[in-house]
Amino acid sequence: MKDSPLEAVIGLEVHVQLDTGRKLFCADSTAFGAPSNTAVCPVCLGLPGALPVLDPGAVDLALRAALALDCTIHPVSVFARKNYFYPDLPKGYQISQFERPLATRGAVELDGGRRVRIRRVHMEEDAGKSLHDRFASATAVDLNRTGTPLIEVVSEPDLRSPREARSYLQLLKRLMEYLEISDCNMEEGSLRVDANVSLRKRGSERLEASTEVKNLNSFSAVEKALGVEIRRQTRIRAEGRAVTRQTLLWDAAGGDVRVMRDKEDSQDYRYFPDPDLPPLVLSAARVASLRAGLGELPRAKRERFRRQYELPAYDADVLTSSRGLADYYEAVVACGGQPKTVSNWVMGPVLETVKRGIADLSSPGLAPGRLAELLVLVDKGTLSATAAKTVLAGMARTGDPPGAIVQREGLRQVREDQVLDRWVTDAVAAHPEAVARYRAGETRLFGFLMGQVMRASGRKADPRRVSQLLRAALDADAD
């Protein structure tokens, strides 16, 4: 694409499931994996006479998302009915926002500084699931997912490459996770992506006929499918043909797109305001208080971490991936931890412990003060890194303070020269052949001898000092 006279014009429509735990217009659970057709009630089944009532919790999350995307929030938005027939759409219409969405005209900035405008953020309900492989020549319908709260985030066609589309999605996912709006689990469908793609002459402002690519259920699928579709359109243009407006389906197994339907016979959805739902009226005070509640957004926080704690970009990125982790890191530093040491330990052993389910960041054993105490011992050289990991595991398991564990398990690092000297002398004496070869120039045997000393010390010896003493011993006797 780089040298091509054409450039890609990409816009993404992203559906994000709101983490409210319940459905948008009734109180059924949205937990993943319930037995089919059990998380249902008269409302989401579309039984005669049942009525939708909007969940205020979903409105709060949708507003947070829209505010974080720097959108204009509309004081009045309207739910509309999108009418079409499908077996997993119980009412024969989907409740969505159409002419008057919750929010419009936002923007985000990608890492390279590119700005991507957000056209709109609106709320809608999900449909159920049609299962085509369950019974022979029949389609089965599970309505558990029906009514799950979603927001749709529609970007302007501001993305210029599959890579850029991917970084936009990563940024969006990060933001939604950080603000606890969604778990963004793509396998479970809590983040779904459709892409609109067209090509135009580089520098032109004209919008050409675009295709919509659906069924993109991973970040790499998005990147790959966009690449395939851009090459397909490039080929069509090179042959002097025109790209037609179509809806395409990404086939991950075949690595190709195929036509699902022509846009020209696009359906007539007969949108109209849903008479069961009053307009969503938001007071300025409520929007302001939600805005204040957002606090520092990930991007700003990451910049501050780099500056204030002098961390590499990678560290700042990981540490600000969730609000809980960022807060934890800052608390440990505030308790006296050295910023880079704390970063290494939090990203490494601490997150490992959490991932294994041994403890979480709020467990007493991992309290910021305790971790800071442990890391001070490491920085002072009282504990070896290896020993400190053992102590950390003990802290997580038992909740005891590090000092007590060091004491109990005798993990204190040995640094006294007279003790270390004996171990070094013993090792040199026990391996005359290795010593001779080392002295003859096989310097790599130093590591072997070093290992012998450490083993003799039960791994408690201070490796830095041992290395000095051993080198001195080997060099001295050579004379």
């Binding site: 089919s36 077996p87 085509h132 369950r134 009053p278 307009p279 009226v281 938001l282």
Partner: protein, 130 residues
Amino acid sequence: MNKSYEPEPGVTVTIEEIQRIATLARVRLEQGEAKRMARDMSSILEHMAVLGGVAPEPAPTSGVPQGEGSARPFGEASDEGVPRAGEGAATPDPLERPLERIAPDWRDGLFVVPRLPSVAGAPGERESSP
């Protein structure tokens, strides 16, 4: 909504148009029925032409008439300890009759319909995704 027609006297709905609408509404009409419907609709729509004469007043923003709740900010506590505006019921309304008793075809906890013609393979693929 691209083109806009004025309701006007003498408007006639053709049989083809009736059939297009019937397809959208998933109602099958026999030829004779379609003819009668076209005639009835034309005559009814003729009476609707008067709507063209309404002096434009601001139409309501939603379909809900000005009742309670429509003007109050959503989700905010109001006076007198009444629930938050728009606050729904906290629990789902339980089903007093199992779904298999109302479903025309129910197998293994699933509603069943004849296989959709347009389905080509990908799991979860739908003609119209929300």
